[in-house]
Subunit: 227 residues, 2 copies
């Protein structure tokens, strides 16, 4: 699969997040008209992402957010009770949607070698599509409350476990070599994350996500695949 095919399969996640937030928080959100809420949530999250990437969430002021989202300060506070809550909600709903897509795509494959390729591509393609969200999420996770930070870490480890399980299964079926699967999953994850953490560098070097995916897969296979 190439990135352009992936884009056709996966729905627009930006609106997904807003709908999902509306469903879960309609009791605490003071505004009641669904269409208004989703529309404004989108403005809020879009602006949060832009400013957050420009100068970090901490440095973003509610006045910044008001200006960039086009909503007044008062309006913002009828959607969220605090600045901190915006971060919490935006990151946790994003994680949910991403986890779901990732699992769905991997489960379609039956053989470990194909599963591994799908896991790598699905992760890279998702981070390509939502690269601002991923970058923001990575950088701001440490600013969450300790409960929420724990959730973020668990979500990371879950992705890693998906990869590790594929490696273990492949080894049991005699396809993959006998290697420390936990460590291997960890460094594979590191390579996947580099794609969205250093996005600008790869752009400058004219490396696109399909090329990066291919390279990573060859790298991993040369290490893992029995010849």
């Amino acid at each position: 699969m190439e990135y352009k095919n992936f884009l056709r399969i996966v729905p627009d996640s930006r609106i997904d997040i807003c709908r999902s937030v509306y469903e879960e928080y309609k009791d605490t959100i003071k505004i009641k008209k669904e269409k208004t809420v989703i529309n404004n949530l989108k403005k809020i999250f879009d602006a949060t992402l832009k400013i957050g990437i420009e100068k970090g969430f901490q440095a973003m002021t509610m006045r910044d957010l008001s200006t960039r989202s086009g909503l007044s300060m008062g309006a913002l506070y009828s959607y969220f009770s605090s600045k901190e809550e915006i971060l919490k909600v935006f990151l946790s709903e994003g994680r949910r949607i991403i986890g779901r897509i990732l699992v769905e795509l991997i489960e379609k494959e039956k053989e470990p070698a194909a599963k591994l390729i799908t896991a790598v591509k699905a992760h890279l393609f998702l981070t390509e599509k939502m690269h601002k969200w991923f970058y923001f999420s990575y950088m701001e996770a440490k600013n969450l409350s300790s409960d929420e930070r724990e959730n973020a870490i668990q979500s990371e480890l879950y992705t890693e476990k998906l990869i590790e399980d594929i490696l273990i299964e492949g080894h049991q079926k005699g396809i993959f070599r006998d290697i420390d699967h936990s460590l291997a999953a960890s460094v594979i994850k590191a390579m996947l994350q580099d794609w969205y953490l250093k996005r600008g560098k790869y752009s400058k070097r004219k490396v696109n996500v399909d090329q990066y995916a291919e390279f990573i897969i060859i790298f991993i296979n040369s290490f893992y695949l029995k010849i």
Copy 2:
């Protein structure tokens, strides 16, 4: 070489940074007694690092820093003219020292295969020794002024170039395979960075830096070394 040997070779970098800062900034620092300056710079940088890792540099207030360093607000401002300057000086002097050590260690080796191993170990061991500084530096680089941020990026790319050059040399000498050296250097760097970015994870799994180094080297060699 193992980590414990490395520790014997490399001098205490925390005091190095303070001395280096004193030399370079003695004109703008209002205090004149060298011993006092170095002693207090150490207190300031130690506290900056601790608080910065706990809650980020932006969230650190000058009052926090005053309390934790044991110096008054007034005293702090006779060493630095602003909060921003503390970050700039601390990161740029650290980069200088690290770059120097890295190059010195690699230059000792003559053969590409040995150079590659040394580069990997030197990087991992340095980040192990100064892991708080590296983590802090990675997370806060985006909060620098655009000039200083550019310096930080260039310093990153320089490390990557060191690796790429080793790969190219090895290929020219017929030892390494013909692979996209730029991409390879990039993902190797990603694996090296994971060591200090996810330090806690590896601790929990009882993986030490020597084991991680060995794993990474086997991984790279299986991809790169001609059989």
